[in-house]
Symmetry: C2
Subunit: 526 residues, 2 copies
């Protein structure tokens, strides 16, 4: 395991600061003195990325697909070494890490398929119309291309799938952008192993040095420097609102603004229809408790708010939910910071006026375990107190009791932007809540019916994003194949000889792409 930085193909540890990872399950320091990157090394990584971009942006779909598939193979080849280290650095169980590795590799292979097929470049062609009146039309052809070097900040809560070779890296590499990973300081060893896998795949494919670099830093200096470097063209981040907004601010202080795709989580409200609560309050409570406590509640789609009418069915549900949560074994949280933040935020929330709680209170423990909690309040309090709208990252949910549907609708209208919003009810009765559904469709990136928000499918149709504060840019997704579009910009070619055009735009359509020709979508020549 490399404890230094990967500056292109070089292993480089010129810095004097070092740090160690900690096993949150044991609070013990793990082996490995990781060397924080220096300012100079960061500049070298960006310079290499900029040079690599000049050629890598022209890599064919086949070349990029091979690279992505080789990364997946190399990651699988790390075997138990990777699983073991990721478990040690995250406190997550081996089953979860193995599942996440599968998701990570599937994701890489899905992006490989997308770039191999090639339609993602969205080729649009308006052929010349020399006889058009009053003026001839000149030939114009447009497609997406790689924007430039991309900086990826890895997330603490998914040490593999939203990390070194996660969705951000996979989509940026798929777009044709070199990537510089700023590793999360809690997972330096996992990052070192996966970075080595990526670099082996890059070398195997003879890709230019700088197509991938990875830097370690226990503080904020390297990250800020990367975001502000003039040659960096986009930034991807998954984490807290505070962290995301700090990066956004750093980017906005640049002379030339660049996009920062910060996915900052949300409270993911769930609305329960009374008819459903009546049918099976206990079953629903079990499902809900499972979703709230999954992964110690450390998912960005964790259901942190539940809205229901204030009636007997809700009483039964609440009782069952509290019991289910109390019975859930507390799990180790990802790191000390997240654990302490959960404890503080939970305490703050429960201290708010009009908030009651059912909290599991065990003997105080030095272990960083997240004890599940259910809090309750009224819609009136919720509407009145913006603090109740804020995310508590961990296994906690706040039940909001509404005196009627009108009040529920009023509370929904006050919600900030969300990654997801969920409505649960008998299918034949959902239409009664049309107004609520409509309100939520203005607030959220994904609307879920009769499901739970945890579990984000990596597919073509997924939207993992939403209005602020869920993300800094609601027009894009950070999960699913469209994530690639975050790192591309269109270029139009006017009156260009066929031989000089990128293949995707050539008249004979040599890549057999679906293109828009004269406004018609198809595989026409043109």
């Amino acid at each position: 395991m490399n404890t230094k930085n990967n500056i292109g193909y070089q292993i480089s540890g010129k810095g004097t600061q070092t740090f160690q990872a900690i096993n949150p399950a044991t609070r013990e320091t793990l082996p490995g003195d990781f060397v924080s990157v220096t300012e100079r090394e960061v500049n070298e990584a960006v310079a290499l990325a900029q040079e690599a971009w000049k050629s890598y942006r022209h890599a064919s779909g086949q070349q990029k697909a091979q690279f992505l598939r080789d990364i997946a193979d190399e990651i699988e080849g790390l075997g138990e070494t990777l699983v073991e280290r990721a478990c040690q650095e995250s406190g997550l169980p081996a089953g979860r890490i193995t599942g996440e590795r599968g998701r990570t590799c599937n994701q890489l292979r899905l992006f490989a398929k997308v770039v191999e097929e090639g339609h993602w470049v969205d080729a649009v062609i308006d052929p010349a119309l020399p006889d058009r009146e009053p003026m001839p039309r000149v030939d114009i052809r447009r497609m997406l291309g790689a924007m430039g070097p991309v900086v990826v900040f890895t997330a603490s809560n998914f040490p593999l799938a939203f990390s070194t070779a996660g969705g951000d890296t996979a989509s940026a590499l798929a777009a044709g952008c070199p990537v510089i990973v700023k590793a999360h300081p809690a997972h330096p060893g996992t990052n070192a192993l996966v970075s080595a896998a990526i670099l082996r795949a890059a070398k195997k494919n003879d890709l230019p040095e700088g197509v991938y670099s990875s830097v370690q830093d226990s503080g904020y200096q390297a990250g800020t420097q990367l975001v502000q470097h003039p040659q960096v063209k986009a930034v991807a981040f998954t984490g807290s609102l505070k962290g995301g907004m700090a990066l956004h601010k750093a980017a906005m202080e640049r002379e030339a603004p660049i996009p920062v795709f910060a996915e900052m989580g949300s409270v993911n409200p769930v609305f329960l229809m009374p008819e459903l609560l009546q049918q099976d309050p206990g079953g629903l409570a079990q499902q809900m408790a499972g979703s709230v406590t999954l992964g110690a509640g450390q998912f960005c789609t964790n259901p942190g708010l539940v809205f229901a009418l204030d009636n007997e069915a809700t009483d039964a549900f609440t009782e069952a939910l509290e019991a289910a949560m109390q019975q859930t074994e507390p799990a180790t949280m990802l790191n000390e910071g997240i654990f302490k933040n959960y404890e503080n935020r939970k305490e703050q929330l429960l201290a708010e006026s009009g908030v009651e709680a059912a909290v599991k209170v065990d003997a105080p423990s030095e272990a960083w375990k997240g004890f599940p909690a259910v809090a309750q309040t009224t819609a009136k309090q919720f509407i009145h107190n913006p603090l109740l709208h804020e995310e508590v990252f961990g296994p906690l949910t706040l039940l909001v009791r509404c005196k009627d549907y009108a009040e529920m609708q009023k509370a929904a209208a006050e919600l900030a932007g969300q990654l997801t919003a969920t409505i649960m009810g008998p299918e034949e009765q959902l239409a009664q809540w049309q107004e609520l559904i409509d309100t939520l469709s203005r607030k959220a990136g994904r609307l879920i019916f009769n499901g739970l928000p945890t579990g984000v499918e990596v597919g073509y149709a997924m939207q993992h994003g939403g209005p602020f504060p869920a993300t800094t840019d609601s027009r894009f997704t950070s999960v699913g194949t469209d994530a690639i579009k975050r790192f591309a910009r269109p270029v139009a070619w006017q009156n260009c000889p066929d031989a000089l055009l990128p293949p995707a735009l050539q008249r004979d359509n040599p890549l057999d792409l679906v293109r828009t020709v004269n406004g018609e979508i198809g595989k026409d020549k043109g």
Copy 2:
């Protein structure tokens, strides 16, 4: 002609500040005391837009198409009244204004066609796979929808086509977003006439009050207030770097960031191959002079930089270009500010070390006429001096002499982001400049071969945008049908009963759209 503000369907002039338009051709005040909008009226306009958004975002493609076509008809119905006032407020000749009106109306009708067809919503469907192993796949369907109220700042240089009912307004209304226009203070009468046309069309189509508002202000207060209003969701602007960046900064100071699409112009470099210069230096010079002086050089695609090798063919071209520019009749510039800025910037540029000039020096005149100018420098100076890279808005071009192709390539590598970059040469020889073309494709939104950058086709394939400082967001275009995508965000519907889905996502494909189903593009049900 209304001299007050349009707050929804109300004519409102509660303010006490007034201002007048000035005819730049005569420097005389035009009739009409226009009332600057108050803070309260701005808030009313936004509140109405927010309410209107809730229903207008669901308008069908047919409804929006009818609205856009009615706007075009209403504008044409204004007849000579509009042409006359626009000429008076801009100093542009009637032929140009009539042409621009045609472009504006064609643009509205093209967006009508796009929303009527409906493919722009980019429907993507991953149907449920209940038998998938190891986990079933849930049904997910995604499409674009309107983001919310949009603020449009009208441009000074296109009083119709980039103005009240220009591309920004047309594309935002097409997306389903209400629009609040902040009119350019130089064209209040033109804005009043066109706003009335838009509002007549809105009423005719029974659209909700607030789908369109228009506010006047001779200062910056109303504009800043609009950009910072929490319910405004996007901003479009065409104008100077200074103006665009001020709006961008105002938007970044919001609690919730929003996209600002500022198209801030560029210098649009043109590279001339020596073989072409040898063939017909005089003809090429005539073409170039025509492009540089078109509309008094007040186009964002005006060719402000010309690169050529330092040889005899370039000498002949330069001589012919200087003569052609001297012979061009100076035209009235748009307003006093633009005229004075042109004079100052020209003076600054010509005072730089190593810059020589052929400038038409007539007797000093009080008239705001832009006298064409050709300046010359060496690539060495150009590379060395960043001031030579900056736009001079007006009929001026800077010829950069390069000692060889390598030096030209070096100069090109120093260029900032551009709307366009142009290469002119014999078709069979263009491939020799592959490296230069490649460099320019990293810098510009549109690459032009053997044409001139002025003249921006409104079509499906157009890209009018580019890396900073050309725009604040290179991923989008402000001209052409894709401009609509600036004002939309994706929403995914998970496991939603068919009857509750938007028609574009329903299983039977009732709108007969091209959609992506299971990753395949076509008209399949799914």
